[in-house]
Symmetry: C2
DNA sequence: GTAATTGCAAAAGATTTGCCCCATT
DNA sequence: AATGGGGCAAATCTTTTGCAATTAC
């Protein structure tokens, strides 16, 4: 993506604020539906374009999961992991991920220079466990 | 996916052996092209179907990266992480990564029951670093 | 013989892009 | 006024699926 002077648009602000107001790690379609409640004639393409820009700017995180066909997004950008429940499809934040040791190790092993990382756990979340017990 | 008695087909064997013979973490299309050298009339749909079956059987791993539009595959199934070089697009194995090293198990216990996990580092690999220095 | 599997092609789903008009700076 | 951004729709890319024919067991 080329370096351009970004303008301050209502659409981009709404996309970001919708994402900041949820912990559900939604996909583009969900964000689109929510944002439409505020800007009814918003288009899905604009949502995708802005998600990419916001990701580039480091204001949001994109989550790629083996169990989700579409990318999921998160406005919490401090380093943390995710737990994807394969039963109810919800994604839960996992704080306290000790990435430092691993990044060091990776660097030490001569693999390369780490810029960021993603950790996703798969399994059954606590709610689903108790629901089926 | 329903439980069925799996048959031993040439197509599935070839897909698996193609993947076992590389460390490049290829996508379905690459596997398809390689496998076609052995079974010329193989179809891409069959490759996708078999990748899904092999994953279900735990014989291969699927890697979802923020920087790859298509899923990548790995026939090395022992728990390990990956490093995706955002310069040359190669994916490198990072061994010695265990979930317990990443996150306090007790924290994870409260979230749910973990069945598997995925760790992907993003950055610039050693080859690309030296090439551009 | 029976049911799983394949090849083919169409379909589906997710994301990107061209174009022209509008809005921000 | 200049140009980034939006809406819309078409296009692209990846993956899935229906179906009739084939193959493994």
């Amino acid at each position: 993506m080329k370096e351009v002077k970004r303008r301050n648009t209502r659409q981009r602000n709404v996309v970001l604020s919708v994402l900041k107001n949820t912990h559900s790690h939604p996909d583009a379609e969900w964000i689109y539906q929510e944002a439409r409640k505020i800007i009814p004639n918003l288009s899905l393409g604009t949502v995708y374009r802005n998600l990419k820009i916001l990701k580039d700017q480091g204001k949001i995180i994109e989550i790629k999961s083996e169990f989700s066909p579409s990318a999921r997004y998160d406005a919490e950008v401090s380093p943390h992991g995710h737990f994807h429940c394969t039963t109810c499809d919800s994604i839960i934040d996992v704080h306290g991920v000790r990435s430092g040791d691993f990044i060091d190790e990776t660097v030490l092993k001569g693999v390369g220079k780490v810029a960021s990382f993603q950790v996703v756990f798969y399994g059954t979340c606590a709610s689903c466990l108790s629901r089926n017990s």
